[in-house]
């Protein structure tokens, strides 16, 4: 049985904002099947009592003092902008909420 359907892959592509052709979706769905099959080995290995590790080197409470440091100049900030207008990043129309 396929671990992941083509529709699921299409949904994931939408979630990750990547346009994909039908052919790409087909190909990726079959690849994902293989990959998922091999990575599924992680399941059920560690018991309930095993805590997850998110940071290999355990540290805590790393903070910086509330001090203002100089920002980039707008020229630097906008230096990579594909489009700009009046020191603002110019982007295509945003659909959705205000």
């Amino acid at each position: 049985m396929a671990a992941i359907s083509r529709e699921e892959v299409a949904h994931l592509a939408r979630l990750s904002r990547i346009e994909m052709t039908d052919a790409e979706l087909d190909h990726l769905a079959s690849e994902m099947d293989l990959i998922l099959e091999s990575v599924s080995r992680v399941q059920g290995v560690a018991g309930e009592d095993i805590p997850p590790t998110s940071h290999a080197i355990a540290m805590q409470n790393v903070m910086r003092p509330d001090v203002v440091v100089p920002s980039l100049t707008p020229e630097e900030s906008l230096s990579g902008a594909p489009a700009r207008e009046d020191n603002r990043f110019k982007v295509p129309q945003i659909l959705g909420e205000e």
């Binding site: 990959i35 990575v39 992680v42 059920g44 290999a56 080197i57 990579g80």
Partner: protein, 501 residues
């Protein structure tokens, strides 16, 4: 015939600079010439910063002339992996997505290099966003292994390792998320170190998998690697995960050449069946050399390592799916499809379709899946628990031994194109290197000979406990000296001559 300057070690170059027998500008020009001569074939570099390199070199020369106290690596050329931000210099991460992007800031590693007077020659090729083991996933074409141009130089940092092996630079910076420093070092007969997680600042390192990524030093010798390690390591308040402790004495450790009484553990799970015979042969010879040097070899078992690869291929893509979300064409990078009528969302979709390569998309989709509600516990959550088990395996092993060793990779360099259509087979390259990243410990790959069957370099991996990176330098330095004395010359000196254009 005296050794041409570019074939020397960084330590030797440093001595020549100090003696005044060569200037930093001459040294830089010699490397720029070498790059011009061979990089057409090797393709280690994506960008050469001739102007910046020569400016830095002349500044070093001027300081030296003025009698200023200089860092030993001042004036020594270096190849920088294109995943580190360098102000004003193109930084692409091997991706089309960032074509033309020039960061307005320096990575902390770059700041440290500049402070030491190291001359940054340019940016090296890599698998796109460091995802790969062959540098075939670069949007700008593959890098070729100087030992055999039909083969891969490893990855993701194949550009950096190839630059070293091709004598285009004596020093290089790599980054290692699952082996991207060590595996390229292994297949190109060079040395590469992944320091303890947090030892080198990640600020300015374009993130692939934040909890695994670590920048590290690469060179042709253990000592050169140690010297570079000390330049780039150290606490950085800009990286929350940076370790706030003094940097250990790596150079001193590399020069010790004494491992008498040390206990060295061979990881049972990282070797044996499935490993190329020449890899096993050379690995075992290296073990003998260590015994001759006075170390005790112990076999240790790390039962959870068999799940490391699977855990890695969940954790890294998950973090990557989030880290790479920012590449959306709004603020930097390429923008595709903005014809004035399409929405921002549509333009994002098109840009990401065009800007990312296949492997990157594959991992984003995999990571997005592993983090999805309903699958999180089964995939990402389970993988994080495996991480705990792997850490415990290391803790248990390091309670018995000083360092652990294994082959760096199961095979020598494979042919370009050989595995590019089989992602699962490709992922198997990283089986020995990945447990280290999951546990955050330090690890080195150094050459231990050429596989008899194909004449290609074999890598030897040394793993040391977290924040005890000196130990791998101590063992590595000793092993390197022992092997070189048995070979009569360094391994890199056996590399075939490249055609000069």
């Amino acid at each position: 015939m005296s050794t041409p300057i570019i074939s020397q070690t960084a330590a030797q170059m440093s001595a020549e600079l100090a003696a005044g027998s060569v200037t930093a500008v001459e040294l830089t020009n010699a490397h720029l010439d070498r790059i011009a001569a061979v990089d057409g074939d090797v393709h280690a570099f994506l960008h050469i910063d001739r102007e910046g390199a020569l400016a830095q070199a002349s500044a070093v020369d001027a300081s030296r002339k003025a009698g200023e106290k200089l860092h030993p690596l001042a004036g020594i050329p270096l190849a920088l992996k294109d995943v580190l931000a360098q102000k004003g210099v193109p930084t692409t991460c091997g991706s089309k997505m960032l074509e033309g992007w020039r960061p307005p800031y320096d990575a902390t590693v770059v700041t440290n290099l500049k402070k030491a007077g190291v001359v940054i020659l340019g940016k090296t090729n890599m698998d796109e966003f460091a995802m790969g083991s062959s540098t075939e996933n670069s949007a700008y074409g593959p890098t070729r292994n100087p030992w055999d141009l039909s083969r891969i130089p490893g990855g993701s940092g194949g550009g950096s390792s190839a630059a070293l092996a091709a004598f285009e630079a004596p020093l290089a910076i790599g980054t290692d998320t699952g082996g991207s420093i060590r595996q390229p070092a292994a297949v190109t007969g060079t040395v590469g170190v992944k320091p303890t997680y947090g030892a080198v600042s990640r600020y300015g390192l374009v993130a692939f998998s934040s909890s695994l990524d670590q920048a590290g030093p690469c060179a042709r010798t253990v000592l050169d690697t140690a010297m570079l390690h000390e330049v780039i390591a150290g606490y950085d308040p800009k990286d929350s995960t940076s370790i706030n402790a003094p940097v250990g004495k790596m150079v001193e450790a590399a020069k010790k050449l004494d491992i008498k009484g040390m206990k060295i553990g061979v990881v049972k799970e990282l070797g044996g069946e499935g490993y190329q015979s020449g890899v096993t042969t050379r690995f075992n010879e290296a073990l003998e050399a260590l015994v001759s040097a006075g170390a005790e070899i112990v076999e240790v078992s790390a039962p959870s390592f068999e799940y490391a690869l699977a855990a890695y291929y969940l954790i890294a893509p998950s973090e990557a799916s989030s880290n790479l979300a920012r590449f959306d064409s709004m603020r930097y990078g390429i923008r595709v499809g903005d014809d004035g009528s399409r929405s921002a969302e549509a333009v994002m979709n098109m840009t990401r379709e065009v800007g990312f390569g296949k492997e990157v998309k594959r991992r984003i989709i995999l990571g997005t899946y592993a983090l999805s509600s309903g699958y999180y516990d089964a995939y990402y959550g389970s993988a994080q628990k495996i991480r705990t088990l792997i850490k415990r395996d290391y803790d248990a092993a390091f309670a018995k031994v000083d360092v652990l060793v294994s082959p760096t990779c199961p095979t020598t360099a494979f042919k370009i194109g050989e595995k590019s259509n089989d992602p699962v087979a490709m992922y198997l390259n990283d089986v020995c290197t990945i447990p280290v990243n999951l546990a955050g410990i330090g690890s080195m790959s150094l050459p231990c000979g050429l596989a008899p069957e194909d004449g290609l370099p074999v890598g030897f991996q040394i793993m040391s406990p977290a924040m005890k990176d000196e130990l791998m330098y101590q063992v590595g330095g000793t092993l390197e000296a022992a092997l070189q004395s048995s070979w009569g010359k360094p391994l890199y000196a056996s590399a075939p001559e490249l055609a000069v254009r």
